[in-house]
Structure formats: structure tokens, C-alpha cells
């Protein structure tokens, strides 16, 4: 475990670990920056973060991208060995998740208070904005934490919310915010609008890597992301209050303070979204920014979103798998692990011990009734306990030999689904499927399985010995 005090410290660790690439040539904001970030996701499993500081037209701008964009970087964010397997990262994430709640460390001052702009705010000039995908309706801030409190329960820290929502810059001091009613901030907005008041919000940009992961985790309404970040980093989470009373990470690079305008909805989008499709346009709420604070020489942090996999898939990987796993496990302790890494868990692979014949399909149904399942999980693949759901070679083996479509496919028509899933028909509704890829056990006596192959005696010892010899040979 490791508590990085800010993004800069994490970037320097990435650099020491050779997981940060500095671009020394001058780049154009469009299309170079998004193109470079997209290309990075295509060149291998261990892609580094990328850092631009010579951007045409900007006398002084620093932009980091792909900061979470590989399993190495994700492991380093969690303070683990950079070679930690997906499976190890999953179980470590789950272990820490269950330590909730941690504590806050409240301090008075933060480096982001160094420079204050409170009149004539112009976000187009204060931030190094750039277009990500050619059909995007404008410039989006897509990796910032938006912080809000409940006007009906103002002093209750546990219902304060830190979430990552896409923000479209729509005017010099005007943002659109994409929220759906399922988001926690939507509850705050609804309470404010019922009262006829604007909702104060703060937007913290350029953060250490843990709070970004927490902002992307579907926590319960009364779980505070900072208290989860504290257990994830193994130390109290340091925050500073704004004059309005919102808690901001001590380490942020930029802080935008403003209000969600009561009752206002304006054209927003489209934006290239996580399913690999543009989102279309909607009328979404609007934020007016009154004040921008930032460090000297601030570092702007953005996530490229494209056809999967891109960095956003790492932000929605363990943060999605762990809550689903813990929810199913509370009903079915037989469940061993959950892989919801693919396209924000539209496909979920679960491995489980089998209590009796026919059990696996109940496990699949339970996935659909988790909080994430209600809005995302559409295809659930259930595999045996000895199949590692994170190893797709093993999952495909199970699908190949343990599935007889005659009895192993269950479809349930017309369930609720996130409207960003382009397969919905109509929008917000989809048929969902469970694939039972476990070995039938009595009294479910289908198939002719006999004995499964195991490994010759001594394979483990040989594996250790040979790995050493191979490493030696390649030195």
C-alpha cells in the first residue's frame, strides 16, 4: 500500500519505473494528443503514461494521459508490485475494500490555493482543453472528481459525493454535466431542484491515482469516496474544505468551484463513450463556474476514451468487479472471483464452487440483481471454481467444452439496461443472457464428462525451476 500525496509524486514514480513517456516534440492540441493517447493503447500490454509539455499555442501547459492505462500502472497506483497479476490486483482491491471506512485528515491549506481566478473566468484559456474524438460536441473534462453535498443533509460527511462525470466546456465559465438518475450526484441535484436552489459543486482536477479510482467505483449512497480512498492507500485521506464547505483532495492541481443551475437543462454531447460509440445529444444540467484555483504550473490529467481497450477500461475494471463480487458473495459464499473488466461489465465472468446441479444458473441470476447488474451486466458467463475468470484462455476452454446450448443458455427478455449500451431495444431495455459454462453435477446429469485432465506429478516444481533457467538463459 502507498499513499501518493499528489499526481506529481505518482508521475515521478511512473517515470522511475519506466512507465511514463515524455513527448519532447511540439504537438498540436488536435489531433495529436488524442491520437498519441489512442496509439499508446494499441502498442502493448504495458503501455506507459504519456506527458506533453510542448503544446502549440500554450506558453505553459502540462498534460498527462494514460496515467492508469495499463495493469502495471494500475498496480503501481495501488502501491503493488508493477508485475502483479490481474487476479492478485483483484483480490488485493477486494481485501482493502472490506476495510471501509478509513478516516479523513483535514488540513487548512493546499498547494492548489496558490493561484486564484475569481473574475472573468475563461476555462478555454485556463485549461489545456483538446478534442478527443472527431464527433465530440466540444472539449470535455473527463477525468475530474466532482464533489457535492446534500442540501437536505449538509453536514453529513458520509453522503458527500465524489464522482467522475463527463463535463463539457460550453462557455467561458459554463459546463454541461452528464448524469443519469442512478448517479449519487443526481440525488443531490434532485434535492436542490425540489428546494428551488442551485447546488454548490467543486471540480478537482489532476489528482493522485486512488481517488480517481474511487470516483469511478459504484459505492453506496452513504459511503464516502475519501474514506474508501483512505483504506485503499493505507493512510488517512488528506482534504481541504472550500469556503462553501466541500472537501477537496489536498493534492489536486486545479479546483473549479461553482453551482449546478437549478432547473436548467441544455444541449450536451455527443461524446465518444466507453461502449466504443458516441453518446448522442441530450439536454443535461449546467454548471456555472465562479472561481478557479490552481497550483503554479498545474498538470492537467485526461483520459482517452475509444473503442475498447483504452485507459477508461482500467478505471472501470477492478472498481466494477469488486463491488459485484462482494454483493454476490454475501448471498452465495461459494463464489470465488468476478471478472467485470470488459466494457464496464456489460459482460461478467464469475467463477464459483457448485453446491448442487443447477446451482450455477442461480449465481448468474444473482449477478443480474446486483446494483451494477441492474444497469450494466447483460451477458453473464459462469465458470467452475478451478477456472480463473481473469484468464480468457481458460474461460474460452470452459465455453468450448462445458456448454451445450440446449440446456446452458438462459435468456430473460426486456430487462432494464444502461441507455449507453447501443444494443438496447428500445433504449434502456435489453434481453440478458446467462451462459452456464460449469460442469454439470448431479442431479443435472447432462453430458459425458468422465475425468478432467490434471497435471503430471512435479509440474509445479518444474515450473519454478524452468522459469529460473529461462530467465538465466535470456540474460
Amino acid at each position: 500500500m502507498r499513499a501518493y500525496k499528489d499526481l506529481r509524486e505518482f508521475l515521478s514514480v511512473l517515470e522511475q519505473e519506466r512507465q511514463l513517456l515524455r513527448i519532447h516534440d511540439q504537438v498540436l492540441p488536435e489531433p495529436d494528443m488524442a491520437a498519441a493517447a489512442c496509439a499508446l493503447t494499441q502498442i502493448g500490454e504495458e503501455s506507459p503514461a504519456i506527458y506533453f509539455d510542448k503544446i502549440a499555442g500554450f506558453s505553459s501547459a502540462r498534460v498527462a494521459m494514460n496515467v492508469h492505462g495499463s495493469w502495471c500502472n494500475h498496480a503501481l497506483a495501488l502501491g503493488m508490485d508493477k508485475d502483479a497479476s490481474m487476479r492478485d490486483q483483484f483480490f488485493e482491491f477486494v481485501r482493502r475494500f472490506q476495510l471501509y471506512p478509513g478516516t479523513l485528515e483535514r488540513v487548512e491549506n493546499a498547494p492548489w490555493q496558490e493561484v486564484v481566478v475569481d473574475k472573468d473566468v475563461n476555462l478555454y484559456e485556463l485549461l489545456p482543453l483538446f478534442r478527443l474524438n472527431r464527433g465530440d460536441g466540444g472539449y470535455f473534462i473527463d477525468k475530474a472528481c466532482t464533489i457535492s453535498r446534500d442540501l437536505d443533509d449538509w453536514n453529513n460527511d458520509d453522503v458527500e459525493n465524489v464522482g467522475i462525470y463527463r463535463l463539457q466546456v460550453k462557455g467561458r465559465n459554463r459546463l454541461g454535466i452528464q448524469t443519469v438518475p442512478q448517479h449519487d450526484i443526481a440525488i443531490h441535484m434532485a434535492h436542490a431542484e425540489e428546494r428551488g436552489e442551485d447546488l454548490p459543486v467543486a471540480i478537482a482536477l489532476g489528482n493522485e491515482p486512488i481517488i480517481t479510482l474511487m470516483g469511478a467505483t459504484p459505492l453506496l449512497y452513504d459511503q464516502l469516496e475519501y474514506k474508501m480512498a483512505a483504506v485503499m492507500q493505507g493512510a488517512p485521506y488528506r482534504v481541504v474544505k472550500t469556503a462553501k464547505g466541500l472537501d477537496i483532495p489536498w493534492g489536486s492541481e486545479y479546483v473549479l468551484e461553482g453551482r449546478v443551475l437549478c432547473g436548467r437543462r441544455e444541449t450536451e454531447g455527443p461524446f465518444g463513450e466507453f461502449p466504443g460509440y458516441y453518446s448522442g445529444c441530450h439536454k443535461y444540467p449546467v454548471i456555472e463556474i465562479d472561481r478557479v484555483s490552481h497550483r503554479k504550473d498545474p498538470v492537467y490529467d485526461a483520459v482517452y476514451v475509444g473503442r475498447p481497450w483504452t485507459e477508461i477500461d482500467f478505471l472501470q475494471a477492478m472498481t466494477t468487479s469488486a463491488p459485484i463480487f462482494l454483493q454476490i458473495k454475501s448471498t452465495f459464499p461459494e463464489v470465488v472471483a468476478v471478472n467485470a473488466l470488459y466494457t464496464h461489465g456489460l459482460v461478467v465472468v464469475v467463477s464459483t464452487k457448485i453446491r448442487y446441479g443447477g446451482f450455477a444458473k442461480y449465481v448468474g441470476l444473482r449477478v443480474l440483481t446486483t446494483t451494477h447488474g441492474l444497469g450494466y451486466a447483460k451477458i453473464v458467463i459462469v465458470v467452475d471454481e478451478n477456472v480463473d475468470p481473469f484468464d480468457l484462455k481458460q474461460v474460452m476452454w470452459a465455453m468450448s467444452v462445458k456448454v451445450n446450448p440446449a440446456g446452458d443458455i438462459v435468456t430473460i427478455p426486456n430487462l432494464a439496461e444502461n441507455l449507453l449500451d447501443p444494443a438496447c431495444s428500445p433504449g434502456g431495455i435489453a434481453t440478458k443472457m446467462i451462459i452456464d459454462a460449469t460442469t454439470p453435477v448431479a442431479p443435472d446429469v447432462r453430458g459425458d464428462y468422465g475425468e478432467e485432465l490434471d497435471r503430471p506429478l512435479g509440474t509445479d516444481q518444474w515450473q519454478t525451476k524452468l522459469s529460473g533457467l529461462v530467465k538465466e538463459m535470456r540474460k
Binding site: P31, A56, G171, E194
Partner: protein, 86 residues
Amino acid sequence: MTVTSVRVAPTACPRCRSATLGVVGKSSVAGVWTIFSCSTCFYAWRSTEPEENVDPEKYPAAFRLRPEDLARLKVVPPVPRRRPSL
């Protein structure tokens, strides 16, 4: 990579073709780029972007909007009813 041509000032929004546009930002290094924004559809673009993002004639058909369709976009989330004042 170099900064290309300075183009003539635009007269219509590349996306919705309204004339409701204005300059909203300029590069801190003078003269490199200008950002324009349309107050009808909120599209924004930088003068140095690829042509398909700045030229109404080349803006991709798939992403065009008609001003008269904007009022019909879905409102999310719906605006709740005000509580009765006490």
C-alpha cells in the same frame, strides 16, 4: 508537427450552421489559434483543428445537428417538482 494555416474567420457553426458564433478563447502564445463556440448548439472548435471540425462544408454528416431539432432532445434527469414552500 507544425501549426498550419491561419484560416479566414468563420461565419457559420460547422455543426448546426447557425450564425450564432463568437470567439471564446485565444492561445496564450499570440496568433497560434482561436477557439470559437456556437451559442445555439454549444459546439466549440479551434481554428487549427482538422478541416472536418472547422469547415461547415466538410463537417461529417453523421454529427450534424439541426437547430430546430434541439428542443426535442431528451431531458435527463427530468426536472423535479418544487416542494411547497413552508
